[in-house]
Symmetry: none
Subunit: 254 residues, 2 copies
DNA sequence: TCAATAGTAATCATAAATAATCATAATAAA
DNA sequence: TTTATTATGATTATTTATGATTACTATTGA
């Protein structure tokens, strides 16, 4: 049996949202544990299954994420932060959601209420499209050049497209935040985020503890433009949070 | 056995959506491994199969289209038409691809050469993003409101976003074509298609035989604006095709 | 806490598949 | 016919996948 064929069958076994052990797979495909492990590893690396001791499990809810480095998208902290962020959204809201990994997790928890979502993330839009809310989320995508590496739309067309909208809330990912402001690593991303900040009533920054006290290539804006910071608690970031606390309106720790 | 004959048989074997190993093919066609490999390579280069170690797989074998109603997208006719359409694309081209089901199939066959693709189809963009061409397709998405039912971007923002671009080739799906012109069922879709036609050097209509002689809610344009019609042959549509034939520059029947 | 067990990762030799090269056979063009 | 072109199959070196062995690590239960 071909390697690829075997891997397809593994995925098939897991399609029902189940679990497949190394031993079972060895019997099923008549190969050695080493080979099965290698298959499992590859499938896990490409994000198609999740590795557990003794075998692999289906990715279940997040199984439709189309990108490789899925692990990065699914950390417990980021999910908590995302959950807290969506709880701020009320019926009738118009929200900007930018293209970061933290904000992407919001897709899983968005309540099925009437809201309008404006985003430059192809992946977020795809995820929301597949969920097909009953209440009918209205989804608006910005145009522009598609960065296939990160699945987000950037560039002048994306910016001018985004500038057409105004929102109640903007949810942003950052690469760092300190007492002077928020940072990100790409100029094009920063340009988009600035438009979101300027065109929304309130700006919510979603940053896990690893971002606290860190910087980035470009400063997006000062803390005075930030309404809410949602982060998770950790011992190391505690001191830094105190410094930031005074610059912003509200701090949510999850 | 002729080379062409053999390659057709290979494709037949894969029609069911499975894999074919080099060894199996060697026995089946009584040729040498070298020849079979060359066949596999050619078929893979033209995008008709996917190469895996030890053999080839059908394009459908592992490619997971992100939406439910896959069947509709995969009819043999539409695939043939799509294949013929992509063969028109050359290195350096800038192409519009609209959001229909026929045009969507082009994603599977797009050659890995340097081209720029402008589309209002979220699903096409997602599919291309996942394929991650080596040569680096540049993908541009129009902005606008996302119709989750069909996964396409429409509305005034989509239009103005699209109007920024100019292409060599525009590939359009239609709901019908007759001797007077082409038709579609949604005003918003027609608006987008008109922009594509106006902003491209050549317009290619992709319509399977069920569309020939049919109409739709809105007329998009007359046949004089159409450069090429790609369709599949069928007894019923033959007479109608003769009428249409004179209105357009070129007719490709697959 | 400790071993006992089960699962894993790392290494390596082997086997298999592939790409590259070449000579030959089949085909098409002059 | 002769020549040029293309397809084929054999050979080779190279790359890649595999399974056995071993050492390592996590989990379990006393």
């Amino acid at each position: 049996m071909l390697q690829k064929q075997r891997q397809d069958k593994i995925l098939e076994c897991l399609a029902g949202g189940d679990y497949l052990s190394v031993d079972e797979a060895v019997k099923l495909f008549k190969s050695s544990p080493a080979t099965i492990r290698r298959d499992f590893m590859e499938l896990a690396e490409s994000g198609q299954v999740q590795k557990v001791r003794g075998g692999v499990g289906s990715k279940r809810a997040s199984s439709t994420l189309p990108f490789a480095d899925r692990a990065e998208f699914c950390s417990v902290e980021k999910e908590k932060i995302a959950k807290s962020a969506v709880s701020m959204i009320k019926t009738g809201d118009i929200v900007f959601i930018d293209g970061g990994t933290t904000t992407f997790n919001m897709a899983s928890y968005l309540p099925d209420i009437n809201i309008r979502i404006i985003t430059n993330s192809l992946r977020l839009a795809s995820a929301l499209e597949e969920k097909k809310s009953d209440a009918g989320w209205e989804i608006y995508l910005t145009g522009g050049f598609l960065y296939t590496k990160s699945g987000i739309l950037l560039g002048p067309n994306a910016q001018s497209s985004l500038a057409q909208y105004h929102a109640n809330l903007a949810f942003l990912s950052v690469s760092g935040i300190d007492e002077n402001g928020i940072y990100n690593n790409s100029e094009l991303v920063v340009d988009m985020e600035r438009v979101m900040i300027n065109n929304s009533d309130r700006t919510v920054i979603m940053a896990d503890h690893s971002k606290i006290g860190k910087h980035g290539l470009v400063k997006v804006c000062g803390l005075d433009r930030i309404s809410v910071l949602i982060t998770d608690s950790s011992r190391e970031s505690k001191d830094y949070l105190l410094k930031i606390r005074n610059g912003i309106t509200e701090l949510a720790q999850v």
